[in-house]
Amino acid sequence: MEIVQLNQISPDQVIIWSWRFITLNVTILYTWLVMAILVGGSILVTRNLSSDINVSRWQHFLEVLVSVVRGEISEMTKKGADNFIPLIGTLFLFICTSNVLAVVPGYVAPTSSMTTTAALATCVFIAVPYYGISRNGILHYIKEYFQPTFIFFPFHVMGELSRTLALTVRLFGNIMSHEKVIGILLAVTPFLFPVVMQILGLLIGVIQAYIFAILSMVYIASALSTEDEGHVDGQKEGVTA
């Protein structure tokens, strides 16, 4: 019993329920599931936080998670992490949860559809000028597009667009390709080999979530670091691919 057939490229094509012009496909359903898990779990854990010696296990878990994300971000920007941790941490947690849950039978990762990843990449695309303008002012941000001369303006714009496309396609391609590989292997060599590939899929899912978060942090940091050069080491170049 497979929800997404092998000849369907994305879970958008599987429609569970439709009423007039409203359709509910598998991607939306499982996105809601992941959101419910994240929000409900966070509410349950943070309902009784404590600061004395006896700390519950789940509070430890969340504290470790938040402190690791905060440490990574502050190491990259060399400035405070408090501005970025809502966006970057949410991106990481959402992508990581939706990728790791893929070992559950009957679950289809919403990141294996291009619409989800395009939405996430659009968030980053909007967040980059937001953080850049709120730190340096709009004039300084626009002036950055005309560096070193005005000829470079189209290249900067192309870079912004193409890196958004790259973010989209990278996550989508990795997760979707893995689902297809597992599907094909199930047909060819059942039992043992697909399990090995699924273990590899856990690793790939976490790494892709990490890469997505790190890359969006790099893009945001490259929009920030115009004032004080050298704080973000060498990340202004080569962030367009």
């Binding site: 000849n7 369907q8 490229i9 990259m76 790259a166 391609g173």
Partner: protein
């Protein structure tokens, strides 16, 4: 040979060629990058964290080229836009 089998043959061969040729370059590039990063970690084990992070970011960017090829071959196989011209 009729049109349908021609389009099918062209898209399958094109998908295979795109994946095969397109993964040569990223494979060489990723091998080079990992070799250099391992050498750098062996020289300076204290800098492992920042080296690993930079390595991952770089690998993701090299890999995206191969992912483009993969997505194009997937489009050719699963969602070929030329089918709609042939099959009315």
């Amino acid at each position: 040979m009729d049109k349908v089998s021609l389009v099918a043959m062209a898209s399958i061969i094109g998908a295979g060629l795109a994946m095969g040729i397109g993964s040569i370059g990223p494979g060489l590039g990723m091998g080079q990058a990992i070799a250099q990063a391992l050498a750098a970690i062996a020289q300076q084990p204290d800098e492992r964290n920042s080296l690993t992070r930079t390595l991952f970011v770089g690998l993701a960017m090299i890999e995206s080229i191969a992912i483009y090829c993969f997505v194009i071959s997937m489009i050719l196989i699963f969602a070929n836009p030329f089918w709609s011209f042939i099959i009315k």
